[in-house]
Amino acid sequence: MCDTCGCGTPGEAVTYRKHGDKLHHHGDSLLHTHDHNHDHTHIRSIAVEQDILGENSLQAQRNRGYFEAKNIFTVNLVSSPGSGKTTLLEKTLSDLEGVPCAVIEGDQQTMNDADRIAATGVPVLQINTGNGCHLDADMVHTACGELELEDNSLLFIENVGNLICPALFDLGEDKRVVIISVTEGDDKPEKYPTMFDAADICIINKIDLLPHVQFDVQKCRERALQVNHHLKFFEISATSGEGLPAWNTWLRENIKKQH
């Protein structure tokens, strides 16, 4: 049943949970309408001229203002499923010990990623999007309310593993980071250009596996730069730790810049 008006339309199934929490719901469905009493019969055109994602962009700007006021540097991590986002986060959080951090995890189902992050001792909130294929700015807003973020801190948002849909949804982050692992094809930037176009940073992950796979790092970088010549790169192995110091330094520098 819809939780806005009590009619028969199902409400959204997005849930927000901290590690160990029971399930509770937020969000409402705005789409359906009800009988309407007016009786007008003339056909007319109304000029609307509205950005279709305008509502999301507006909420993203509100989030951005909130992050700025609290001096929180926010990173939105996007990639295909299995690129190693959560492992990278675990390693990064342990390397950044002493820096106040928080994590928002986005997945369709399960608390698995939030449980892994909670084990590092960092505050984390899991958003389960149900059938949703991406996080949106409103979900991040709700999650921030639950997390009680510290001033002068670092917020990581691990988006739903999907190299297409999250590209279109601004969350209010400072930087969008696209991660590609060397077990994927080096032509990913060419195949999924919208995401690479929308990113600021590209992490090439699992570089410890390069001797075993046919992945041409140089070619991948060139293709990514052809899509978006503003991209900055990090080559990392979250497992072996190679390349992590440069990434951690970049994060620390950005926190300092915020001050």
Partner: protein, 113 residues
């Protein structure tokens, strides 16, 4: 499939506009969609019909004006039409191209009764 969220936003905006005008039905929703907007028009049309059910827009027509892409080269300032993010400058063959047009995703107008 983000086209579903986009279809929901479209119908939501259109219904609000129609209601504020006191209209009882929507017959046409008109969009501007850029070629680089990251939206698959076929998927959007597919989602649209199911999202319209039980709304003022049920049975309405979706009209999409496709907006072509254009960009300018940062190396030689040439402006040219582009149809992908991997845009090569036809003058100096540089990939340092910034996009001017083609990301539009706009609800232009609704026809109501």
């Amino acid at each position: 499939m983000h086209e579903m969220s986009i279809a929901m936003n479209i119908v939501d905006i259109a219904c609000k506009e129609a209601q504020s005008e006191g209209a009882s039905t929507i017959s046409i929703i008109e969009l501007d969609v850029g070629k680089l907007a990251g939206v698959m028009i076929d998927s959007l049309k597919f989602c649209y019909d199911s999202v319209c059910k039980n709304t003022l827009a049920e049975g309405s027509e979706l009209v999409i004006n496709e907006i072509s892409g254009s960009g300018h080269c940062l190396d030689c300032a040439t402006e040219f039409e582009i149809d992908s993010f991997m845009a090569l400058c036809p003058n100096c063959e540089s990939y340092k191209v910034d996009i001017n047009q083609g990301r539009e995703l706009r609800l232009k107008a609704v026809t109501v009764n």
